[in-house]
């Protein structure tokens, strides 16, 4: 769910969630340590940024793997 008063446009939210999803797939499949570290860090920071904009998805890892937007 996205907050009604978010200054993010719906298409921006979709783009960001898509990026988050792509990073998650990379995290599961990538074996290059340097890339994996960057992916994990980017994913953690993107998640908290979206949370601050009231975008509700995956509060806890493994709790809700489907992105609800």
């Amino acid at each position: 769910m996205t907050s009604a008063n978010s200054p993010l446009r719906p298409e921006q939210v979709e783009q960001l969630l898509g990026s988050y999803r792509s990073l998650g797939l990379l995290e599961q499949s990538c074996a290059v340590p340097a890339v994996l570290a960057a992916v994990r860090a980017a994913r953690a920071e993107l998640r908290i940024a979206l949370d601050g904009q009231g975008v509700e998805f995956e509060y806890y890892r493994g709790h809700d793997d489907s992105l609800v937007a």
Partner: protein, 436 residues
């Protein structure tokens, strides 16, 4: 008004409450599934916030220590494998207890840093600023988050961990640093050091924003720091157990410390009955974390005494309620002397009113069966009649403000210990006296 997270910071109150309830449900599900400690303490089928407050027991420090002791270092408390941790922090354990130990996952740390960004942005910190963090960079969580918060915002951080006070003063002047993070006690120390160096910080440095947190402080101390630096002092606080900042002071109203509400549920309870108190009434802060995944908190009895006020009483536009004056004191800070209740901040308030006083140390002693406050004061090179007059003025001010006449002793300059972290300036030595 600009906000770090405008959606969360200005969310309509009803929407915010509903959001927090969904977050709480997710947090409890996560904890019940993965933490043996929380599985025992969190009942199933909690139906509302009120039901939550009625059925979930208060979490005391002793509960956490017992959970830790079951299988050190973290015990049965964690909700995730500690191997997912990217940081370890622990409390100082100065009360004689073992420390509370915590770890942060990458997601936890990103959230912690974001709470600092929320606070710093609110105080006016922007990417073009330089920030000096005058902090020991050790096991204590302290200002670690400020360091990384400045980085994430795009500001330039100057990590002054290993430097002495003179070097830090020199950096402030030479680099014209705009943002400073430290404890109020250590700010007083830097002011004294700058004076010894012949440096007028307000004129020669360029500090504009000071985050002075991690301990209660008096209004006099705030004013002294602001005048010496020519800067605005802001309050903010977090705890190792919570894992991030839970409140910060905004620019719109002095001492309005907004609760970062999406990250926590903050109840304020009567210290004796443990029932909720209303807006404007003193009570103990009881916190529930809504973001951390590795080590969660539900209804933690913090011992912090606070007064909550509604967001509408601040003009900043945030819909987050605030603690007026931040953490006023700790429940266990209060001492009774001859029926009079005294806290360290009350003593500090009196002594900081004397320009001559550089440092002080006070203790409560039993002298010939009578409880007495003994105050040691450093006041530069004052001696003779001037010293006697100062002691007399301090005694009279104590009597007038607190209702107790102390024993005042002037000590040589530099003889009292200075604190780089949390200062302990009131010691109760009555327990040490032989019992009759």
């Amino acid at each position: 008004m600009e906000y770090w997270n405008s959606t969360a910071e200005t969310m309509p109150r009803q929407e915010l409450e509903q959001w927090k309830w969904r977050r709480l449900q997710a947090a409890m599900d996560h904890a019940r599934r993965l933490s043996p400690f929380w599985r025992e303490r969190l009942p199933e089928n909690i139906t509302s916030m009120a039901d939550y407050a009625a059925r979930v027991p208060l979490l005391r420090k002793a509960d956490l220590l017992a959970a830790e002791a079951a299988s050190p270092p973290y015990g049965t408390w964690p909700s995730l494998d500690p191997a997912l941790g990217v940081r370890h922090h622990q409390t100082s354990g100065t009360s004689g207890n073992p420390p509370i130990r915590t770890f942060d996952t990458e997601r936890d740390w990103a959230w912690c840093v974001d709470t600092f960004c929320t606070a710093l942005h609110s105080m006016g910190v922007r990417p073009h600023h330089k920030g000096l963090v005058a902090f020991g960079y050790g096991l204590f969580a302290g200002f670690w988050g400020m360091h990384y918060g400045l980085e994430r915002m795009g500001a330039t951080v100057i990590p002054a961990g290993g430097l002495d006070s003179r070097s830090r003063v020199r950096l402030l002047v030479d680099y014209q640093i705009e943002v400073l993070g430290l404890t109020p006690s250590y700010a007083m120390r830097l002011i004294e050091t700058a004076r010894e160096m012949g440096i007028d910080l307000a004129r020669e440095a360029n500090v504009q924003i000071i985050l002075a947190g991690a301990e209660p402080r008096s209004a006099f101390t705030t004013r002294t720091i602001e005048e010496a630096f020519g800067a605005r002092v802001f309050n903010a606080a977090g705890t190792t157990e919570f894992g991030g900042v839970f409140m910060f002071e905004c620019t719109a109203r002095r001492e309005a410390c907004h609760i970062i509400e999406p990250s926590c549920i903050e109840e304020v309870l009567d210290p004796v009955t443990e029932q909720p108190v209303g807006y404007g009434e003193e009570g103990v802060r009881v916190t529930t974390g809504l973001n951390r995944e590795g080590m969660q908190l539900f209804r933690h009895w913090t011992e912090d005494v606070v007064v909550k006020r509604p967001h509408s009483e601040c003009g900043c536009g945030r819909t987050w309620d605030f603690y007026d004056g931040g953490i006023l004191r700790r429940v266990d800070d209060m001492r009774k002397i001859r029926g009079v209740s005294i806290t360290p901040v009350m003593i500090e308030d009196v002594l900081r009113g004397f320009d001559e006083v550089n440092e002080f140390h006070s203790s409560i002693r039993t002298v010939r069966g009578l409880d007495t406050i003994h105050v040691k004061v450093e006041a530069g090179d004052i001696s003779g009649e001037a010293a006697e007059r100062l002691c007399g003025r301090i005694t009279e001010e104590f009597k007038r403000e607190i209702g107790i006449r102390p024993q005042v002793e002037l000590t040589p300059a530099g003889s009292l210990p200075r604190s780089k972290w949390k200062a302990a300036r009131l010691h109760d030595e009555r327990e040490l006296a032989p019992q009759a």
